[in-house]
């Protein structure tokens, strides 16, 4: 009987969220507050490559959330969008983003192919998206930490700067999938090993909170996924340009 009372009261509250949703603003852009992108870490290797060779080689390592399903998904996913955004802003330099997406791979599994990727791509910057598969598979956070540390170490030894990208903000699955412990580990590893953190979790939550995207929405269409990835690609581009101090370079190359 208590539970029935509980249900009635909670259902009675339903009408309130509907009003709240109507009242929320709907900005067109997906700008991210500077505080979510700024960092004290410099991407010095990326800066050097740009200065010396006028090119930037970026490798993206990731799992399912670095891709959009479907045959043309890769074209719309954030690695491709990042490349476009960088090319637009750094015209005159050669930008190459190579994506290595392996769905369902835990961080430990991703280490297996890491050396080959680093040898093939010779990136000056690696964007490593991780954590979701580990949370789904309930990998112990200490094992997750060890894999991350090992991977970041290898990347840096191979001469690349590292950006760690954490999970997507996914309110619908939050009841089943608690990613916060893994996000904490990523933040900490980034801090300890001088890697940059791209806080996708906080950025997507921000977009959801201010109404840029309704991430609760159920849809079979790809529009929203594409727009979110486009926005992530652009946010990443501005984080890279800031941290590698490429604003100045952009001025020089366009002059």
């Amino acid at each position: 009987m208590r539970f029935i009372t509980a249900l009635i009261v909670t259902i009675a509250l339903n009408c309130l969220p509907a009003w709240a949703a109507v009242a929320e603003p709907q900005p067109d852009s997906c700008d991210v507050p500077a505080s979510l992108l700024e960092s004290e870490i410099d991407l010095s290797r990326a800066t050097a490559e740009m200065k010396e060779k006028h090119r930037l080689d970026i490798s993206v390592l990731g799992t399912g959330s670095s891709a959009i399903p479907g045959p043309d998904g890769a074209h719309f996913a954030y690695p491709a969008q990042l490349e476009d955004a960088l090319k637009r802003q750094l015209s005159g330099s050669e930008i190459k983003v190579t994506a290595h997406i392996q769905p369902k791979q835990t961080t430990a599994n991703m280490l297996g192919s890491l050396e080959k990727i680093l040898a093939d791509d010779k990136p000056s910057l690696v964007i490593w998206q991780a954590g979701t598969a580990d949370a789904i598979n309930a990998v112990e956070t200490e094992d997750f930490r060890a894999s991350l540390e090992g991977g970041v170490d290898k990347m840096q030894t191979a001469g690349a700067d590292v950006i760690l990208m954490n999970m997507q903000y996914s309110p619908r699955t939050a009841a089943m999938l608690d990613v916060s412990a893994y996000a904490d580990v990523m933040r900490h590893v980034a801090q300890q090993q001088n890697a940059l953190l791209f806080d996708r979790l906080a950025i997507m939550q921000y977009w959801n909170d201010i109404g840029t995207f309704d991430l609760y929405a159920a849809t079979k269409k790809y529009d929203m996924a594409r727009r979110v990835h486009d926005c992530i690609g652009r946010a990443l581009a501005s984080q890279i340009i800031n941290a590698a101090h490429l604003d100045a370079l952009r001025m020089q190359t366009t002059r």
């Binding site: 909670t10 959009i68 789904i136 598979n137 112990e140 699955t173 939050a174 009841a175 089943m176 609760y216």
Partner: protein
């Protein structure tokens, strides 16, 4: 501290119910409820954001304290067999409650799986893969290996109670030895990586080998340990250390949320301090709880007049029926989160849901009190066991 214990059975604390236990357990239940709703502005007010330990520590410590209080008396008055039987019956009740919550959880998950679709979250939806093998999943849940998010506390509690009868006997007859044994298990668990396996991977989120220390420490305090510590608790030095530690923990916690402050935490400190492990009840968390408890008992005496104030009765009521209210809180957190995610809720809705949840918890606790009172008064009603409810709805 340990040396002061003697081989003679320790005295049971005098006097009746310590309302402070009910009060703080009630508050802990509210905080656990709030923390279990992930998107909730209100959980900025819960203690986990202001120090290392959180409501779980309070809940487990008080549960150990009350379990020893209730079953310790049973063990002295009616013997080890009766007391053990009652502890195990309590474990069984908690098990049934856990499985009941699991059923509700499965219903919610199955609903989300059948209604939610978004290509953006193709990866996250893999979490629902376990629905493809309901036989395995349900069996693993029954043997407490599969525990969905936020359903880790009750299995811990069950494990603690299963091993409580011999520990209780030891606590009554050799309290110092019992506490030392508990600390030894804690140390061994850290050094030898003891934990129970979980499904599909990993280990228990609350490692019973580590968390038993807090439960046993609570029980030890109930069986006379608190009196033994009272001299230390009155000392100004202890108070100063406790307050200094709480302030330190507060500033460290602040750096987690205010990024620019992170530079004030020196590298050697963070590499020594982190990670502050919740699974294995990090020493820093345990110490933080001890400091909180020391400060609390110092400023809130047993006969604190406010304990009789009507304003605190709602929390006290909830603390007095902790198992029911804990389960209700887990359910309400599911329901609240469900509302927030199905109909999207801003801060106003989150606040309303939080308040409504606490009100429902209070109303239910009052209802249970009323039932018990009514049954107690009814002429046909059986006589209650002498110690029922003494310390907060048993354990």
């Amino acid at each position: 501290m340990l040396a002061s214990a003697t081989a003679a059975p320790s005295p049971l604390p005098s006097g009746g119910r310590d309302l402070r236990l009910d009060l703080f357990r009630g508050v802990a239940l509210w905080l656990i409820f709030l923390d279990h709703i992930p998107q909730n502005v209100v959980n900025w007010f819960t203690i986990r954001n202001y120090g290392f330990s959180d409501a779980t520590e309070i809940f487990i410590f008080i549960s150990g304290y009350t379990a020893a209080f209730v079953y310790g008396r049973a063990m002295r008055e009616r013997g080890i067999v009766v007391a053990s039987a009652r502890v195990l019956r309590r474990a069984w009740q908690i098990y049934v409650a856990h499985i009941f919550l699991f059923t509700i959880f499965m219903a919610e998950i199955a609903y989300v799986a059948s209604t939610f679709d978004n290509p953006l979250y193709a990866e996250e939806m893999n979490i629902l893969d376990f629905l493809k093998q309901p036989d395995v999943t349900i069996f693993q849940a029954l043997i407490l290996k599969f525990k969905p998010v936020n359903m880790d506390v009750l299995p811990l509690y069950i494990m603690l109670l299963l091993f409580f009868p011999p520990m209780l006997w030891l606590l009554i007859h050799q309290p110092a030895l019992a506490l030392a044994g508990s600390a030894l298990v804690y140390v061994l668990a850290w050094n030898l990586d003891w934990n129970l396996p979980a499904y599909p991977n990993g280990a228990w989120f609350f490692n019973p080998f580590a968390w038993q220390l807090l439960f046993v420490f609570g029980a030890w305090c109930a069986l006379g340990g608190a009196q033994r510590l009272s001299a230390a608790l009155r000392s100004h030095v202890v108070l100063a250390i406790a307050i200094a530690y709480l302030v330190f923990a507060f500033f460290v916690t602040l750096t987690w949320y205010v990024e620019p402050l992170g530079r004030f935490v020196p590298g050697w400190l963070s590499s020594w301090m982190y990670p502050i492990d919740k699974t294995n009840l990090d020493v820093l968390r345990f110490a933080h709880f001890l400091a909180l408890a020391a400060v609390t008992v110092r400023f809130i005496p047993r006969d604190w007049p406010w304990l009789k104030s009507p304003y605190l009765q709602p929390a006290i009521r909830c603390g007095q029926h902790s198992l029911e209210i804990f389960c209700l809180g887990v359910f309400l957190a599911f329901a609240g989160q469900f509302i927030i995610s199905e109909w999207s809720g801003g801060p106003v809705v989150q606040t309303l849901i939080s308040l409504a949840g606490i009100l429902i918890m209070v109303a239910t606790a009052s209802l249970i009190s009323w039932y018990k009172q009514m049954e107690g008064r009814s002429p046909a009603g059986r006589t209650k066991p002498p110690d029922a409810d003494l310390a907060g709805g048993e354990a």
